[in-house]
Symmetry: D2
């Protein structure tokens, strides 16, 4: 099994090092990852200027681009193999609920899926720097083997979150739904040393709703959470309501 590893915390983050080490037990690993932190970049793709790749040896490349860029360069160039699977992470901090839409880590798995390659993202649910990357990496390696053997459902990729706990304190994995929280924005408005205003996007991070079966419900009870995500975001249940409007 040939594996492309990427992330959004940057190629030197402890999470990606642990992930590459763990996956090396089950396959051949190439790493193509951002040269610095690129979190919250969503599914951004660099179309309007070129990218640089720094070869670090042993099929490792640092890119001055987004995780989505890295997946493109990793699949279509740079590596001596076309990957059988793409694994993104291990992210420092959970990716739960609608936060996945901002996540470079999760978007990298989405990009691979668009390219027809099975993929998953893995995050360590920690508030700080994180400790148990090796445990999360071991689960990723097991999951990669399953995916390689069984394949993934059509147009589907997995978003995995692992509590930051030693293996013997983890509860078993659960297949979960994408959770939900309430967002509240907040803008910090200040004046710079030259008298000009600037704005900094802050966040009031409100709690996730404790929805049974959700990613958050699993994580908060020390389970590993595995959420299958679908490329199709259509809300089919809403068709009748909207068709009732007089839009013509």
């Amino acid at each position: 099994m040939d594996i492309l590893v990427t992330n959004d915390d940057g190629i030197n983050a402890p999470g990606i090092v642990a992930l590459a080490d763990a996956l090396a037990e089950v396959g051949r690993v190439g790493v193509v990852a951002p040269d610095r932190e690129r979190s919250a970049v969503g599914h951004a793709l660099t179309l309007h200027h070129p990218l640089r790749a720094t070869a670090l040896g042993n099929d490792r490349f640092a890119i001055d681009g987004t995780p989505t860029d890295c997946v493109n360069l990793g699949i279509h160039s740079l590596l001596p193999f076309k990957p059988d699977i793409v694994v993104s992470g291990i992210n420092r901090g959970a990716n739960l609920g609608e936060d996945i839409t901002y996540s470079g880590t999760v978007s990298a798995a989405l990009e691979a899926t668009l390219m027809g390659i099975p993929a998953f993202a893995v995050s360590l649910a920690t508030e700080g720097d994180g400790v148990n990357y090796a445990a999360a990496g071991a689960f990723a390696a097991r999951l990669a083997r399953h995916i390689h053997r069984h394949g993934l459902p059509a147009d589907t990729f997995l978003n995995v979150n692992v509590p930051d706990l030693p293996p013997d304190q983890l509860n078993p994995p659960l297949v979960t739904s994408q959770g939900k929280r309430r967002y509240e924005g907040m803008i910090i408005d200040k004046v710079d040393p030259r008298g000009r205003n600037y704005y900094w996007i802050g966040t009031v991070e409100l709690n996730f709703l404790d929805i049974p079966g959700s990613d958050y419900a699993a994580i908060s009870r020390r389970h590993i959470s595995v959420t299958p995500l679908h490329l199709d975001q259509t809300n089919y249940a809403s068709f009748a309501a909207i068709e009732a409007w007089d839009l013509g």
Copy 2:
């Protein structure tokens, strides 16, 4: 009705001018949009550095950030009102199928939905610069009135695509599903004037599949396409398959 307008083509693009003009017929309009083109930035949010807003008069602000940033600044700061609805566009070029995940225009509507404000994105399905922005704007104004009256289904926003045709050649709006195409990446590999390699992400844009009921099917038959998108991307149908794996 108080309306926040944004886009990803930049505040001077003809599409946003036409959209703001059309919406001014049905409500009070504020424009908070990127100061330059920011296409393909996905749901990127600027967390790690501050933003600048240039006031252009009449509740218009140019921001050195992404469409998602603009929605944040527009809802929580800058404007003298909190918007009842957010409208993003009119994008130059269609946003169909999985392309919506790259789209700054669509991501702006997603961001507003996370903030609890009804929203839709509107794009002109054109290969070139686009001609019929006014017709698309008129439809957007009508749609905004319907949303203001009826509300949107929970956790749902709309992705609208309008063929680039005069109004009398348009077929009636259809509520559609998110379409699908095959992606194929392509990396352009060159050498710069100082002998260093660079990579440019190209695209081989393969055809959309002509799936009945999809956004693409509607647009290619001259219908306006209205796709309801849901925040929840969980693939519930795949639970059984994944639960059958021995992940524990």
Copy 3:
């Protein structure tokens, strides 16, 4: 006389508009200037990524680069002529003393000189937005004619500062030396909304020394200041002192 006009305040700044208008009276004008403010960029040259030029009609081009980049593109590409002279400005705010080393406006004139084309920079000595750009432009046009007729001394370009006063309140131009002030740095140290430190370079702008014959002395007495600058920055007078050290 064919004239290339650039600046560092951006192509839409009032100073460059006034300058291009005034120079159109004495020659054919092309404008190649940054698409946004690029002040304090010094003599920065963009070597490691490509540049974009937006054609605005009538030999006007907006560049996503530095003033030095604009001079390169303007001399070697884009324009239908090779300029006889390069004029940079009219900068909003004076460029006096050692401040010239930070100035994108002055560095553009330096770049043209390196390329063998006579050049000068012109700045409006104002604390605010500036009023009398037309007067400064008129002096620039007169100066351009002199340079075209007489040439400039070898390896020399001019740094012009004009007080922000109506023409009838201006004292005659003086040829001056580069002035001098004491600098004092100041770092603003803050914490961002996510708890990370950031630093903003502030400035305690101390007074210029009132050195007879200097640019500052002229400006503060309502004279136009014309400072000839030389490419050679060697301090020949210091050779003996340093040669006395036992460096070998």
Copy 4:
């Protein structure tokens, strides 16, 4: 002697590592340097957005800014001492003639001089990656001791270039003048994968003139070159010629 070390090749470049090692023999060293290569940025100062500093331990800090920014942060913040001297380098590649105006390495020494701190820049005159950084570092350490003992002439800093040769093949240091070459620009004009033009600034690097006593003349004869540079760039010899024009 407390020493601030910076460069423009980035904090991990072999030149700055060798320089810090060599200077640690003669004083206490703090390193504040760009987190990546920032060559050809001239005397650019970051005024309009904030900077980040990553503490790497042992008074080493990586900054997401220019060499000039690093000197500001290093003198006024970050370090536990105010430096007695600032040393910038060892640059990969010579900084000769007018090239110094583009150089981030030389501009860092200029910035320190403006702040009233003695400073010099040191570059390894090599066409490739460079070999003899240790020899150049040893000379820098000796020079730092001289400057600490004797001071530098007023408003003067030093630009040092060292041939890339083993110590026993080096000729003795010479105090030199700033050399001179002819520049010739060249613009590479291409089309990106989406059909839009882009421009890359290339260079036709013409030879330096072999002027007796110049930096180039010294280097090409295997001497270490020490050029004293003055803050005052006025061309006093040209006053009479320009005063003869009828500018009033």
